[in-house]
Amino acid sequence: MRMRFSQILISFLITLALLTGLEIVTSTLLPAMGWKEYRLTFNVLIILFLAIRMDSPLVPWLILGLQMIHSIFSIEGWALGTLAGLIVMMSANYLKEVLHLTTAFMTMLTVQLFQVIWYVTVTLIICLKISDFDKFGLILWSFIPGSILLSLISPVLFWMLGLIWRVPSDGGSRGVEI
């Protein structure tokens, strides 16, 4: 199934609005309720959806756009996540024949697997930047609780994003061509 450019634009704008809302929840609402130690990095989940479910030359630019919004809420900036997103997208390309997100459990498992790739990439780059590889384990460990929670809610968010991007729910790993 192919999407027109206007449809892509509308879907992308809705996704940006969704990300902004979720980032506000993570950065303001949850800490205000006392949840300060771990963060739910929704940008990772949304980018994983685009990387796994979409098949388009535009995906790298969509990832970049989402990361630009994420950089408003985090000093992590846009570049780290963009590179990690690209790596995840390319990995998903190689694994597309074996990825079948037909059940909630498979979605959770796949999301957890790709989150590990994401966080290892990001942690490696951060350790390189701060020239301190002693912290590799600590930084990676800080991601684990949040990533498990994200995996658990991924079927719901993927279903919502599927509606926004008009991806058939029974579609394979590369749902929509744009």
């Binding site: 902004t20 980032e23 506000i24 993570t26 950065s27 303001t28 609402l29 800490p31 205000a32 309720m33 006392g34 300060k36 130690e37 771990y38 963060r39 990095t41 940008n43 388009s56 030359p57 535009l58 995906v59 790298p60 630019w61 990832i63 970049l64 630009m68 919004i69 994420h70 950089s71 408003i72 809420f73 985090s74 000093i75 992590e76 900036g77 846009w78 570049a79 780290l80 963009t82 590179l83 690209l86 997208m89 390319m90 990001v122 942690t123 780059i125 951060i126 930047k129 701060i130 301190d132 912290k135 600590l138 930084i139 460990w141 800080s142 991601f143 949040g146």
Partner: protein
């Protein structure tokens, strides 16, 4: 037969372009100081009022709960007394520092001027949305006199320094963050070390030699070295000391003086020397 079709070519070109952009972005990225881009400035000014509104409404709700549904007067009185106690503790600590400093200065027959600070009170409206960074957003910015590198404190002690600032908001790199390194000294022994954020809202005290007589319970204060933090601000307390079988230094765990779980209001100190520090930093980097 074409091995790569047009669509695949476009994909490869786009991937390479975005990857180059990302790598360039990473190479330019600094985790200790940042100037906001125009995009960042504009979007922050639009989005942060929502964060501020949410933060305030939560405070209003919890204050309603605390003050009306629970025992009204006890809660208020308790809060006032707690604030008074912490202010008095802070004053005592400062007085002790001044007394010790005076003694040393008398011995040395010299004196030094204390840094004068302008103080700006600000509210915490948000936290960094990434796991690996411990950054808070304040509802005051350049329009209120806040500058980058300005130290941020509460009446309990040191919070961090201003990492980046827009017209009405400022991001503060807290001492819990691994990118923030604070020059400290042990109040009792005057031993110098560096406090770094580690994990689990705790910090580590580094570069303390094995033969230094530091103990669990020792308090840490800023050493005033490095040009960012004034001397004598409470930083934390040593809670655990481990002597490894190897290495020249001790492995020390520190609990910050500030309870970051309950952080709501902070004071930003704006020393007149801030501009000087900022202008010095690039010069130091260039030399390196």
């Amino acid at each position: 037969m074409k091995l790569i079709n047009e669509s695949s070519k476009t994909k490869i070109v786009n991937n390479i372009l975005v990857a180059f952009l990302a790598i360039y972005g990473i190479s330019q990225k600094r985790f200790d100081l940042s100037e906001p881009t125009l995009f960042h400035q504009l979007v922050t000014e639009v989005i942060s009022p929502v964060q501020e509104g949410l933060s305030n409404s939560k405070k209003s709700l919890s204050s309603l709960w605390d003050n009306y549904l629970l025992i009204v007067n006890t809660s208020k009185e308790n809060n006032v007394l707690k604030k008074q106690i912490s202010r008095l503790e802070s004053d005592l600590s400062t007085m002790e520092e001044v007394r010790k400093e005076n003694l040393r200065l008398k011995r040395l027959l010299s004196y030094s001027d204390e840094m004068s600070h302008q103080r700006v009170m600000a509210q915490v409206v948000g936290w960094d949305s990434a796991n690996e960074f411990k950054v808070i957003r304040l509802n005051k910015g350049r329009n209120h006199g806040i500058k980058t590198m300005a130290p941020v404190i509460t009446d309990h002690g040191l919070v961090g320094y201003v990492y980046r600032v827009t017209d009405n908001y400022a991001d503060v790199l807290t001492i819990l963050d691994q990118n923030n390194r604070v020059d400290v000294m042990v109040e009792r022994t005057r031993t110098h070390g560096i406090v770094e954020g580690v994990f689990n809202f705790k910090c580590a005290l580094k570069y303390i030699m094995r033969n230094e007589p530091v103990e669990v319970g020792d308090k840490l204060i800023t050493a005033g070295v490095g040009g960012i933090y004034p001397k004598g601000i409470k930083v934390g307390m040593i809670t655990d000391i481990t002597k490894e079988n190897f290495g020249m230094t001790l492995s020390i765990e520190v609990i910050p003086s500030v309870d970051f779980d309950k952080l709501e209001e902070v004071l930003v100190l704006i020393p007149t020397e801030v501009a000087g520090v900022e202008s010095l930093l690039p010069a130091v980097e260039k030399k390196i």
